[in-house]
Symmetry: C2
Subunit: 443 residues, 2 copies
C-alpha cells in the first residue's frame, strides 16, 4: 500500500538524519580493500590467492564482530592465462599487446599463423559468408564509448562472449577482439568468453585499443598482412568458496536482507575496483550496522566466489539455498567500481514503492536520486532476481569504470577514498532502512 | 645591432602573414609519423627495425624532393631488454610490473633475491650508511608531478641515470626505481641508466607508479618483505646511422641551418611522441620549405640515431662535422612530444636579439610568445650548443608528455593531428625566417 510506513528504529532515524555521523569508522571500507589488494592482490578463482582471500575474508568477518561466519564450497574450473604473444609477421613485423580471454583454449607452441579478416562488430561477422572467414583469424574492431551507466558494455561485450563461437562456425582459426573498454591506454582487457557444444573451440584474445587502431591501420595498408598468435592457457579442476556472514535479526531473524560483492578478481590487476571496493563496502556495512544497533531482520553479507568465470559462486549459492530463497526479503550487490552512488534503483511491486521513496529520502543528502523501478541488482544477485528475489541497486557513476575494468590498471590508487566513504554511508542507510522495515518487498 | 633587419624573402613574408595558407599539405607531418610508427613501429638503436627506419627515412627524404640525402654510420651498443620479472616472494606473494632500465645488466636465471631498503630520493640514498644498504635491493620511490615544461624531470631522473652507481657504492645488489613519469597507469617507464668505471654493475629496473605505491605499502606492513628480481638483458656491438638531408641554400649554401629530431625510439611503445612526431615535423618542414621557394641558406635536416642510448648519434655527428661546425648558423630539435608550441626560445648574443623578436612576431598568430633567451635547443643539439653553435627551441606544451614517455603507451593515437599541424606551421615559419635572414646568430 502507498501509505504503508517504514518502521524506523531510533538508530535508523539517527542514521537518516545524520549520515555524516553515521559512519563510526568512515575509512573502514577503504581499509578493507587496501588490505585485500595489498596483502593478497590478484585472486583468480581457483588459484592459491583465491583460497587466501577466502581465509582472509572469513577471519576478517569474525574480527569485525559478525554473529555468524561460514564458507560454502563449490567446484570451479581454475583457468590460467599463461603467456600470450601476437606478432605481425609480414609485411610490418612488430608485436602487439594482447591478453587471452578468460576460458579460452591456447595454441600449440608454434602458435597460429594466418591472415586476418576484420569486422566492425559481431553483427557484421554474423552476416559474413564462410568463404570470407574460412581459415583466417577474425578481428572484431568495435569501439566502446563512455558514459555514467557504462551502457555500451552490453552491446560491445557480445564480441567477447560469443565472438569465438560465431567465428568458428564460419571456419575461423582464432578470434581477436578490440578490448571491451573505454580508455586509450595500451592495456588489453580480459573477460569471460564462452564456447558452444558442437562448435570448434578456437583461441580468443583481446588486443588493446591502441593496438586495435594499429592493426586496422596495418590491414588498411596491407590486407594480406600475416600474424602469429601464441597463447599458453590451461584449465584444471579446482574448488572455491562463497564466504557468508550474518548479523542476526533481533526481531525477524528468519527474514534475510542479502548484501553482496564478489571476492574473486581477474589476474591482471589487483581487483581493487572489480570488486575489492564492493567487498570493502559490504563487509564494513554489516560491521558498522551492528555497532549502531542490531537490525530487526537478519543482514546476510555474501562474498561470492568466481563471479568473473560466469557467476559460478552465485549459481552455487542459489542451488544450495533453494529452499530458503523465499526468506530472502531483498538482495543487492556492489560491483561497479568505486565511483559515487548517484541513484537508488528498485524493482518492487506496487505495494513497496512507498518504501522505495522513503529510503531514497534518507539517501538524498548523499546526492542520490530515485530511479525508475527497473533495478538489475548486480551480476551475482541477478541469479536470485531470476528466481523471484526482489533486488535493488545503489547505482554508481561508472564513467571511468571501463577504463580500468579487467586490465592490469585495476589497482588501489584508482579508488578515491572519499567516494568510497559516500558508498559506505549509502549502503549503511539503505541496509538499515530495509532491515528495520516491516515492508515485505517480496509482494 | 638592435636595428638590424631580417631580410625576408617574398615567400617568407607570405608565410608570415598567412600561416594558415603556408602549409600546402598540412597533414604531411602526421602522415610521416603515421607511416613510421605503423610500418616500422619500435626502432631501438642497433635493432633490425632501426636499420629499416634508416632506410625508410633515406628513401622518404628523396621522395620529398630534398636536394641531398645521405647517411653517416656510427658504432653503437645494441642493448636488448628481454624478459623481466619482479615477484614479492614473502609475506604477500604477487607480481609487480617492471621493466629494465636501458643499458642495465641482467641477472642470472634464478634472479636476485633479497630484502628491500626504500629511499624517498637519490639524495636520501646518497646520505645512507653502507650498513643500511649492504646486500639489499635499493628502492628509490620519488614521485614526479606534471607541468607544461616537464620541469621536474631533471630532478627525478637522477635516480634512473645514477641510482645504480650510488646504490652499488653502498653495497646494494640491485636497484629499483619508481618510474620517472607522471601518470598513474600501470606502465613501467624505461630510460637510459649508466655505470661507472670501478663501481660494481648491478641490475637496474623501474616499476610502474601503482606498483611503487603497492611496494611501499607492502614495505610499510612488512619491512622484512623479500623480493625476487629476474632480468634477461643483453648487449651486442652494432652500427646505426644519422640520416641527413639538405635543401641547398640559393645564396649562401655554405651557411647551415640545422633542424633535427631523433629517429630511434625505445622498444616498449611505437615511439610516436618520442620522437616520431619530431621526425614528421622536421622532415615535412624541409620538404614544404622547398616547395615554397629555395631558402637562401642551406637547411639541413638531421635525424639523429641512438638519442635514447645517450646521444650516441649526436656525438658522432659533432665529431664527424667538427671542421664545419663554424658553418652552422643555428641548430634546433623537435623532441618533446606532439603538444602545441607555446614559446619561441633563443640563446643569442645581444646582436641577434632583434631577429629573435622579429621571428616571434611571425609566430605570434600561432599563439607563440618569446622566451627569456635561455634555450636548450633539444637533447641532440645540446652537443652542438656545447661546441658553440647557437640554438633555439620551439617549446611545446609537455603537460602530458611524461604520462607516455618511454612506456608501451607511446603510440600514434596519443598525437592530436591539429596540434602537430600547429607545430609544422611554426617550424616552417621559424626555419624560413632563419634561413633567409642575414643575421649571423653565431655572433
Amino acid at each position: 500500500m502507498y501509505h504503508q510506513k517504514l518502521l524506523l528504529t531510533a538508530a535508523a532515524v539517527w542514521l537518516a538524519t545524520s549520515p555524516q555521523a553515521a559512519v563510526a569508522n568512515n575509512q573502514l571500507a577503504y581499509q578493507l580493500v587496501e588490505e585485500l589488494t595489498v596483502e593478497i592482490g590478484p585472486r583468480l578463482a581457483g588459484s592459491p590467492e583465491d583460497a587466501k582471500a577466502v581465509a582472509w575474508a572469513t577471519n576478517k568477518f569474525k574480527l569485525l564482530g559478525y554473529d555468524k561466519v561460514w564458507t560454502e564450497e563449490f567446484k570451479t574450473p581454475f583457468w590460467q592465462r599463461g603467456q600470450a604473444r601476437l606478432q605481425i609477421t609480414s609485411p610490418f613485423p612488430q608485436s602487439l599487446v594482447l591478453t587471452a580471454l578468460g576460458g579460452s583454449v591456447g595454441t600449440d607452441a608454434g602458435g597460429i599463423e594466418g591472415s586476418v579478416v576484420m569486422f566492425n562488430s559481431l553483427d557484421e561477422l554474423m552476416l559474413a559468408k564462410p568463404e570470407q572467414v574460412q581459415g583466417k583469424i577474425v578481428f572484431i574492431n568495435k569501439a566502446m564509448q563512455k558514459d555514467k551507466m557504462g551502457s555500451q558494455y552490453g552491446s560491445v561485450v557480445g564480441a567477447r562472449s560469443k565472438g569465438a563461437v560465431e567465428a568458428a562456425r564460419l571456419g575461423a582459426k582464432a578470434l581477436l577482439i578490440r578490448s571491451v573498454g573505454t580508455s586509450s591506454n595500451r592495456f588489453a582487457h580480459t573477460g569471460k568468453m564462452s564456447y558452444e557444444e558442437g562448435v570448434a573451440k578456437i583461441p580468443a584474445a583481446a588486443i588493446s585499443v591502441p593496438d586495435a587502431i594499429q592493426l586496422s591501420k596495418i590491414l588498411n595498408r596491407a590486407p594480406e598482412a600475416k600474424i602469429n598468435l601464441t597463447m599458453q592457457t590451461q584449465t584444471e579442476d579446482a574448488v572455491s568458496h562463497n564466504v557468508i556472514a550474518e548479523i542476526t535479526g533481533s526481531e525477524r531473524p528468519d527474514e534475510i536482507v542479502l548484501i553482496s560483492a564478489h571476492l574473486d578478481s581477474w589476474d591482471q590487476g589487483t581487483g581493487a575496483l572489480d570488486d575489492g571496493a564492493g567487498v570493502g563496502v559490504v563487509m564494513a556495512t554489516g560491521a558498522l550496522l551492528k555497532k549502531a544497533g542490531q537490525p530487526k531482520r537478519t543482514v546476510r553479507v555474501v562474498l561470492y566466489g568466481n563471479e568473473e568465470g560466469g557467476l559460478v559462486g552465485a549459481r552455487a549459492y542459489a542451488a544450495k539455498h533453494a529452499s530458503e530463497l523465499n526468506k530472502h526479503i531483498l538482495a543487492s550487490e556492489s560491483d561497479f567500481g568505486a565511483g559515487k552512488i548517484w541513484q537508488f534503483e528498485t524493482k518492487f511491486g506496487p505495494e513497496s514503492l512507498a518504501s522505495a521513496a522513503q529510503i531514497q529520502q534518507q539517501l538524498a543528502p548523499l546526492g542520490i536520486k530515485l530511479g525508475g523501478n527497473k533495478a538489475y541488482g548486480g551480476p551475482d544477485v541477478s541469479v536470485l532476481a531470476a528466481l523471484g528475489v526482489p533486488v535493488v541497486s545503489l547505482e554508481q557513476d561508472g564513467t571511468d569504470y571501463f577504463d580500468y575494468h579487467h586490465t592490469p590498471n585495476d589497482t588501489l590508487d584508482k579508488i578515491n577514498p572519499a567516494d568510497l566513504e559516500q558508498n559506505l554511508k549509502a549502503w549503511l542507510l539503505m541496509t538499515r532502512a530495509v532491515a528495520d522495515s516491516s515492508t515485505d518487498f517480496r509482494k
